[in-house]
């Protein structure tokens, strides 16, 4: 398809551990179009971060094995590229990353300015042409850095560059992270729970900023979160994952109005609200070392039948752009 920026197909990733082989991703499909904000939601341990890391190619090499699948980014299969090409063209260039924890992402002994300069030394978009002299490039880069720091609404950008990471607050560090992710002019930004560590008022500011900048720069965002409220705030489309399998993909409006997968329904019901009271999902998340066969949600699903235990449902379109992987999908969100 023309507008697809990245397409993950049938990705299987497993982790070796003392207790056995954990199958963390089991045939995951995911498509992100150019310039859209895709939400990836699911409970902890469902494989959101592993998927994000496989796209970036930063899974720990000794403990993980990519068993099958492909990650097509602009026509190239990222899994087939060499480490050198990945480092010089993809990672930190075409695909940038915003970490969950802005507190550990900086090196505490260097100033923020030094760390941003280091980033630009290797990942500056001006390096691509190679026509500029080192000094010219550094001067232009510095101007771009200050412009972006102003765009992320940091007060006194010159002053911030002279500070050490501990001298700025958590919200400001996350703003710096967003600025640093956008500096290499990427086409895709992977934001891994960027607001989990922040307070609600700061979260609202950061989400506003991320949404605006992504739109202005035409950057696609893969936004992983376990908070459905924040997903509602900024996403265009949402993919739900459960225990290493994606179960439903829908545009944000029909995701919240008419979820088709029983797990999505239960996830929405377990949000604390005055109408629903406090409702959990019965049962526990399966252990990934010996996951349930077929649809991995079947042990906790009251609609499960024999078919669910044996075969994983194929993706089925229920509406425009809305696909679900369930043998017995819900009608009209009920």
């Amino acid at each position: 398809m023309e507008s697809d920026l990245i397409a993950v197909r049938g990705l299987r990733v497993s982790f070796g551990s003392d207790a056995g082989v954990a199958r963390v991703l089991d045939g995951v499909d995911l498509t992100i179009r150019r310039g859209e904000i895709m939400g990836l939601v699911g409970e902890s341990g469902c494989g959101k971060t592993t998927l994000a890391r496989s796209i970036l190619g930063i899974l720990p090499p000794h403990a993980t094995r990519i068993e099958a699948g492909e990650i097509r980014f602009e026509g190239r299969d990222l899994l087939g590229l060499g480490e050198k090409t990945l480092a010089s063209e993809i990672r930190g260039r075409a695909i940038a990353y915003i970490p969950q924890d802005p507190f550990t992402a900086f090196n505490p002994v260097f100033t923020i300015g030094t760390q941003i300069d280091d980033l630009m030394r290797f990942k500056s978009p001006l390096l691509r042409g190679g026509a500029l002299s080192g000094r010219d490039r550094r001067r232009q880069d510095r101007a771009r850095v200050l412009e972006l720091l102003r765009m992320v609404q940091l007060p006194d950008p010159e002053g911030v560059l002279r500070k050490y990471p501990h001298e700025v607050s958590g919200g400001q560090r996350q703003r710096l992270m967003i600025a640093m992710a956008l500096l290499p002019e990427p086409q895709l930004v992977i934001a891994d729970e960027p607001t989990t560590a922040l307070d609600v008022t700061v979260q609202a500011q950061i989400l506003t900023l991320l949404k605006r900048l992504a739109r202005e720069h035409g950057v696609a965002v893969l936004f992983t979160t376990h908070d459905l409220g924040t997903a509602y705030e900024i996403c265009d489309r949402i993919t739900v994952m459960y225990a290493g399998q994606e179960v439903e993909e829908a545009p944000v409006a029909s995701f919240f109005d008419a979820p088709s997968h029983p797990y999505t329904r239960k996830l929405l019901d377990s949000l604390p609200s005055s109408e629903n009271g406090i409702r959990g999902i019965a049962g526990e998340i399966p252990r990934l070392i010996d996951p349930p066969s077929g649809c991995r949600f079947h042990p906790r699903c009251e609609r499960a039948t024999e078919e669910c235990r044996t075969t994983r449902p194929p993706p089925e379109a229920v509406a425009a752009g809305h696909t679900v992987r369930c043998h017995h999908p819900l009608e009209g969100g009920a």
Binding site: D199, A204, G280
Partner: protein, 323 residues
């Protein structure tokens, strides 16, 4: 007031010295700065606020984990602030503190049985057999089978560890439990299970909770009353419905406006509050919120507003309260 408060806090201050590299004191961090409130028997009082506003320090100071700088904490009729740990021990039996992840406080080399017996050995002189009956009773109340007594923490799941941690707190039959961020970092489905457990236990044992949290949607569901803190002060306190339906303080209003609401207008399109809380080592003059407040006027810089009630248990610390 109709019911005698079980825990009464009056003008509590907790200041930490800020020292430079030569260990000379260069200032004070006023983490809790003049907090007063009452907790009634059997109620759940929520304490909400952003990180760094002093909620956890408040909980720890009430518990006596840190000595208070000044002020009174009257628990069941006795002033427990400023007591030495040895003197406070007999009161503390009935005032318990529950950390964010109570399961993490289990010793990995002890069986669940030893962990559950320990508080009884420290605080009571019950014979072993009676301790065992008490332990089994509590274990049943938190919904775990007795066979778990001989297991080690790593053999049970995280959720079960949490339950054991709670059981450990409940073996001493406390009357007040301070819950410090009990559900933060949990997924919504697990959070619901834990909250239901808290509510069941509260009914079963007639507990009083002080529920410290930054998650307003949870506080709304479980608490009877809510106190909103900002930089070491309570800025608004009242019945949960009143706070959520008609908040009077501009800070409470912004805090409520910042929660994403599924299906409603998007917060990212309308949210107005700028900036972040100032550092508690360097507080603004007058009202602490004035640097971010949309209603700030000259008076706010000069005078610190007092926490004033409207008679119906709703109190606000603001010169210009209103919807």
């Amino acid at each position: 007031m109709t019911v005698e408060p079980i825990l009464s806090v009056d003008g509590l201050h907790k200041h930490f010295p800020v020292r430079n590299v030569w260990k000379r004191r260069v200032g004070w961090l006023r983490a809790v700065d003049g907090v007063s409130f009452d907790v009634r028997r059997g109620e759940i009082l929520g304490i909400v606020g952003e990180s760094g506003c002093g909620k956890s320090t408040l909980g720890k100071t009430l518990m006596g984990i840190q000595p208070a700088t000044s002020g009174r904490v009257v628990f069941e009729g006795n002033d427990v602030a400023g007591l030495t740990p040895a003197q406070a021990r007999k009161y503390r039996e009935h005032l318990q503190y529950c950390y964010q992840d109570p399961g993490a406080s289990l010793d990995p080399r002890w069986t669940i049985r030893s962990s559950l017996h320990e508080p009884l050995i420290v605080h009571t002189d019950l014979p072993t057999a009676e301790r065992e009956t008490r332990v089994r009773e509590i274990l049943k109340a938190v919904g775990l089978p007795e066979t778990h007594l001989d297991l080690y923490p790593h053999e049970i799941s995280g959720g079960q560890q949490r339950r054991v941690g709670l059981a450990r707190i409940l073996t001493l039959k406390p009357s007040v439990v301070i819950l410090d961020e009990p559900t933060s970092g949990l997924d919504v489905s697990v959070q619901a299970t834990i909250l239901n457990l808290f509510l069941d236990l509260q009914r079963a044992f007639g507990l009083t909770y002080l529920f410290i949290s930054h998650d307003l949607s949870v506080v709304r569901l479980v608490c009877h009353r809510v106190a909103v803190m900002y930089l070491g002060r309570i800025v608004e306190i009242g019945q949960t419905e009143a706070i959520f339906a008609a908040p009077q303080h501009p800070y409470t209003q912004s805090l409520l406006a910042a929660i994403p609401k599924i299906g409603g207008a998007r917060v990212t399109d309308s949210f107005a509050l700028e900036g972040e809380p100032p550092s508690p080592t360097n507080l603004p003059s007058g009202c602490r919120f004035r640097t971010r407040c949309p209603r700030a006027a000259g008076l706010c810089a000069e005078q610190d507003p007092a926490l004033l009630g409207d008679g119906a248990e709703h109190a606000v610390a603001c010169h210009f309260p209103g919807p």
